[in-house]
Amino acid sequence: MLRHVLRRLVQMIPLLLGITILSFLIIQLSPGDFLAEIRLNPVVSQETVDQMRANFGLDRPLHIQYLRWLGNILRGDFGYSFAFQVPVLWLIKSRLLNTLLLSVTSLIIAWLIAIPIGIHAATHQYSPSDNLLSFTAYVGISTPTFFSGLLLLYGAFRTGWLPIGGMTSLDYDLFPWYGKVLDVAQHLVIPASVLAFLTVAGLMRQMRGNLLEVLRQDYVKTARAKGLSGRIVIYKHAVRNAINPLITIFGLELGGLLGGAAILENVVSWPGLGQLILDSVVRKDLYVVMASLVFGGVTLVVGNLIADLLLAVSDPRIRYD
């Protein structure tokens, strides 16, 4: 197991290098110098700009710039944000945490909802409830997060039950710790349910399909034939086998979730990575964009690795050595 993990980690290295190279190249394609904005500032003298160019190594050839940046990354230095005037890592750390809070919460909710309704749909195939669930799932995977987000915001505005947008209330700092938790939880409801809706739809379809497939297998027939009750056959034999493929699509889901969150964060002003990347893309905040891309990629790659390991734990047929 440990060897497998190590091997997977080594295999990740070229992929991670590729991620950094692509992130770097895209930014280089961007028209105009990102110091242009600073240059327009009348307070900043030409000498300062030249100084900055030299400091950031912008006067060097491309590959040198890349290697320099990569070297800094490896030492944990992701550069400096021009717009926010803080180190990039500092900026990204909190944003990434917020995005993960949102994504992981909705992922947990999604799994908790999707598995039972997937089982229900499969065991009641073609019943009215199955048809309704399947139809809802179609709508779920087809609704862009910004649209469902706006609909929920409208609902929240009409009813006044939930805070509209943001992650914390204005008087957040005055709350005791449990008040703070409650406050964030309240703000989390809308974005998390939007993302959960998206994920539930996909997962439930998958779960239904898997379970139907498993229920056709011989060992399920055997279990029924030897007189086990329907419940035991389904929950003890079939469901366990139907869940495994769901773990393998975890990586895919995470990718969709991060992407869905990226737009949604801008709709409900959730201070996450997606909002940061849009901000910095618009402001041409070079190092922040590159770092966000790298972090997004790394999160996805690590997510896939975790899914792999989880699968090894949950499925005894898979043995790594």
């Binding site: 692509l22 930014i27 995977i141 087809s142 649209f147 706006l150 997004g296 990629g297």
Partner: protein, 376 residues
């Protein structure tokens, strides 16, 4: 007594057709016809695409017509009963006057009715970009206005803009497939066919693109696009970046399929007959991936539609004054508009309907082309 061979064969054309071997396409079509949701999806798509083709005819106004006195006007509801309780056989609308620009309230002027007329003369346009005409599907007499879905902040009819916007939103998916399909098939075909080191390097390259959360990449790439270009150029550039992100996943699928195909006997036979690699890939392997390609294409289109609308929604895709479903929805994204003029969310409904329809169709196609699920 021997029966002549010809006598044993069916004589009627119908019977001949019944016996004739079916092509895979015919089999798939037979299966698809039984898939009710796929047919519904297909029907919705036909309606949507016809709407976008006839957009200038169906739309009561032109793309840029704006009535500055009627900004954020709520949807006009056609009525049948007038103020005095009299029933009209033809639906009609009332004219309205802006009362409070801040609260965006309009007063209905019940003194005069404007019947809804069909095939009315309106603003000139060119049907199918060629035939000049002034006939619109429906409309009301001036100065009455009919806003089926209300208006935006410039007093432009939202329904009209949704119709024109469908041209962007619905076409982009097809264009993206047209670009990614050949690239994905050839790239995946080569990687899968040669295997080994070539496959390894090619797939590592594709994986780099897959490794990013797609929307992050999309956002960054769209920011790289020049901003000072016309709508059409921008539209093609967006298509290009959507394709740039899409081809990798597609070629990975094709490659996996080709890996299993190349071990088949007929490929061996082709090789023995001395065909070169290129011809084997193009003539014998790629045609066999066509069912997979159709399935993936039908699921790529909704993805591209969502990608474009997401980008345009954030202001990085198709921009004003052009319209696309995503960028129309931007107007609804601010809280004041959302609370006072919720009809600005209508374009979102169209995105959902189009994408649902494609997903219906895509699932139907998958069932139809997947022999394991075929019942007959």
């Amino acid at each position: 007594m021997a029966i002549p061979l010809t006598r044993r064969l069916p004589q009627t054309t119908e019977a001949i057709r019944a016996v004739a071997p079916r092509t895979p396409a015919q089999l798939a079509w037979r299966q698809l016809r039984r898939h009710r949701l796929a047919l519904i999806g297909g029907a919705i798509l036909i309606i949507l695409y016809s709407m976008s083709l006839f957009a200038d005819f169906i739309a009561p106004y032109s793309l840029d017509t704006s009535d500055r006195a009627k900004f954020y006007h709520p949807p006009t509801i056609p009525r049948l009963v007038d103020g005095s309780g009299r029933l009209h056989w033809r639906p009609f609308v009332y004219d309205t006057q802006l009362v409070d620009p801040g609260l965006r309230t309009f007063k209905v002027d019940r003194s005069k009715i404007y019947p809804v007329r069909f095939f009315v003369r309106g603003e000139p346009y060119r049907l199918f970009w060629t035939i000049p005409t002034r006939i619109h599907l429906f409309g009301v007499d001036e100065p009455g206005r009919i806003f089926v879905m209300g208006t935006d902040g410039f007093g432009r009819d939202l329904f009209t803009r949704v119709l024109y916007g469908s041209r962007v939103s619905l076409i982009i998916g097809i264009l993206v497939v047209a670009v990614t399909l050949p690239i994905g098939m050839i790239y995946g075909g080569i990687a899968g066919f040669y295997g080994g080191r070539i496959d390894n390097i090619m797939m590592r390259l594709a994986e780099v693109i897959i490794a990013f959360p797609a929307f992050y990449l999309l956002l960054t790439l769209s920011a790289v696009l020049p901003t000072n270009v016309g709508c059409t150029t921008r539209f093609y550039l967006i298509t290009l970046i959507l394709s740039f992100i899409g081809w990798a996943g597609f070629s990975r699928l094709i490659r996996g399929f080709v890996l299993s195909l190349k071990e088949r006997e007929y490929i061996l036979a082709a090789r023995v007959m001395g065909l070169d690699d290129f011809r084997i890939i193009v003539r014998h392997i790629l045609p066999n991936t066509s069912s997979l390609a159709i399935i993936v294409a039908s699921l790529t289109i909704p993805g591209a539609i969502l990608g474009e609308s997401g980008l345009s929604f954030l202001g990085l895709g198709v921009r004003e004054p052009c319209s696309s479903w995503g960028n129309l929805l931007t107007a609804g994204a601010n809280l004041v508009n959302l609370s006072r003029s919720p009809w600005l969310l209508f374009p979102g409904l169209f995105i959902v309907i189009a994408v649902v329809a494609y997903n219906f169709l895509g699932d139907g196609l998958r069932d139809a082309f997947d022999p394991r699920l075929r019942t007959n």
